[in-house]
């Protein structure tokens, strides 16, 4: 606003000087000219100046927001790369070590149909879900007996899981072992329907994301993919 005011003042002074020069050129008395009122800036000129600065403001805001969003996605990509490298290192040494599987928290999930390859983080906090798919801490470890729940944002990792159907393959690699899951069911539930988190007597995998997938803003529902363990390699 200060810049706009200064610009308007300069424009006004410029117009005033032009008007005074034109009056002198016409041969009028300079005293009468100086006493005469300076004509105001026209509304068209003022609106044009306002548009100029409003446009600059919008461009600045757009750059800031785009930089924030792009930076967040870039950070997510970088962290996923680092996690993948860490997973490869730990997974390579998993066969030789005697460390129990619980100590190695890094798990990798692969869904060939939607070309998903990500390292699962522990927890479903905002930061964890920003970095990658998050494993619900109260649920079973992927590959173990029980219901293992993994959640992720619909705009990043789980954007295309709505394309999964019954019979599709999901691979989970953890501590040198690969677990092959097969999708059994796809369901849309309310956020309060926590029955999908219930434990089971068999090894299950539950993927959760928001629904509708292309909804702008907080989605009102959840898309849940159920899978059961078919084979362990």
């Amino acid at each position: 606003m200060a810049m706009a005011s200064a610009h308007l003042a300069r424009l006004q002074a410029k117009l005033r000087n032009q008007w005074i020069r034109s009056k002198f050129a016409q041969g009028q008395n300079w005293v009468a000219v100086c006493r005469a009122r300076v004509p105001a800036v026209t509304s068209a000129e003022r609106s044009r100046a306002v548009k100029q600065y409003f446009g600059a403001l919008l461009i600045s805001l757009g750059i800031l927001l785009s930089a924030y969003v792009g930076g967040t996605y870039a950070w997510m990509y970088h962290e996923q790369k680092a996690l993948l490298h860490e997973w490869q290192v730990s997974n390579a040494s998993a066969g030789d070590s005697v460390v129990p599987a619980e100590a190695n928290a890094l798990t990798r999930i692969l869904i060939p149909k939607i070309k998903l390859d990500a390292v699962i983080t522990e927890g479903t906090s905002h930061r964890a879900l920003t970095l990658g798919p998050g494993h619900l801490q109260e649920s079973a470890v992927p590959g173990d007996i029980g219901n293992s729940v993994i959640a992720a944002h619909r705009d990043t990792f789980f954007r295309h899981i709505y394309e999964l159907n019954a019979g599709d393959d999901i691979y989970v690699e953890r501590h040198g072992k690969q677990f092959h899951y097969v999708v059994t069911e796809k369901r849309v539930v309310q956020p309060t329907d926590v029955s999908v988190l219930d434990n089971s007597s068999e090894a299950r995998l539950t993927l959760i994301t928001c629904y509708p997938v292309y909804f702008i803003g907080p989605a009102p529902e959840r898309l849940v993919i159920f899978a059961k363990l078919a084979k362990q390699v």
């Binding site: 461009i59 750059i63 927001l65 944002h153 619909r154 926590v194 959760i208 702008i216």
Partner: protein
């Protein structure tokens, strides 16, 4: 005359949890011992109390029963009269873990004084002076009772004491700092040197009766106190876990919205500038 009485349950506040102790006994001499009951709030210092006349009205405590909402039951039902002290029912009205002699008192409402107990093998030479909840008012009564009844060389007192400040035998029976606790007859010769936090009680020493051995009560009450905290903690953890599972994980993010806003602002700015 031997009147069998169940003294009022003592409401012992402990960290905003109700701890209720029911003291049952038997009047052995003089007039019937009077029992005044009042249910105290956890914040109040006066709980249910039983007062005995210092002029010879004595009541032999046969059992002390722990009735509490949050104390785990660590009782042995077949442990005789002292099992009542060990009985900590998980619900106020339940009679889990109580001896057969204490059944009536255990099933009663904590505020009521109903229930008759039989304590076999109790000697008549025991004086019991259960007191009101406040420690200051309790001490003179106890001293008076002990002095006025020389033959009854045992004085059982109910005083206020902190559980952390209990004696080596742990006779507080899960009481708190502001709550009345149960102090058993002291018997130095028997090796059960019970002492409450009341200084007056520590000064009184006498021969203990055969029934209601303090050592057993102290031991069982200590077990009660030890078992209470983990159960409470477990319940709280379970409750918090349920709260966390109230909804499915929030997988929504504002990044796409912010991105759209940013791009829209950028385009709009460029258009406006033109």
């Amino acid at each position: 005359m031997n009147q069998q009485r169940t003294l009022a349950p003592l409401v012992l506040p402990r960290l905003a949890l109700l701890h209720e102790v029911s003291i049952s006994g038997q009047a052995v001499s003089g007039n019937a011992a009077s029992a005044n009951t009042s249910s105290g709030a956890p914040s109040s210092s006066t709980g249910s109390s039983a007062t005995a006349n210092a002029g010879g009205n004595t009541l032999q405590v046969s059992s002390v029963q722990m009735i509490s909402d949050h104390c785990a039951a660590g009782a042995n039902p077949s442990s005789g009269p002292t099992a009542g002290a060990a009985a900590g029912s998980t619900t106020p009205g339940s009679a889990a873990g109580e001896s057969a002699a204490n059944t009536g008192a255990a099933s009663s409402n904590p505020a009521s004084t109903t229930g008759t107990e039989t304590s076999a093998g109790q000697t008549a030479g025991t004086s019991s002076t259960p007191m009101t909840g406040t420690q200051s008012s309790a001490t003179p009564d106890q001293n008076a009772g002990a002095a006025s009844n020389p033959s009854a060389s045992t004085s059982t007192s109910t005083t206020t004491s902190d559980q952390s400040a209990t004696s080596s035998t742990g006779t507080s029976a899960g009481s708190t700092s502001t709550a009345p606790s149960y102090s058993q007859p002291a018997n130095p010769s028997a090796g059960s040197s019970t002492s409450s936090s009341s200084t007056a009680d520590q000064g009184t020493s006498a021969s203990a009766p055969s029934a209601a051995t303090p050592a057993d009560q102290g031991a069982t009450s200590t077990a009660q106190g030890a078992g209470t905290a983990p159960s409470d903690q477990t319940a709280e953890n379970t409750k918090s876990g349920r709260n966390e599972k109230g909804n499915l994980p929030q997988t929504a993010t504002v990044l796409p919205l912010l991105g759209l806003l940013g791009l829209g602002s950028l385009l709009a700015g460029l258009i406006v500038r033109k």
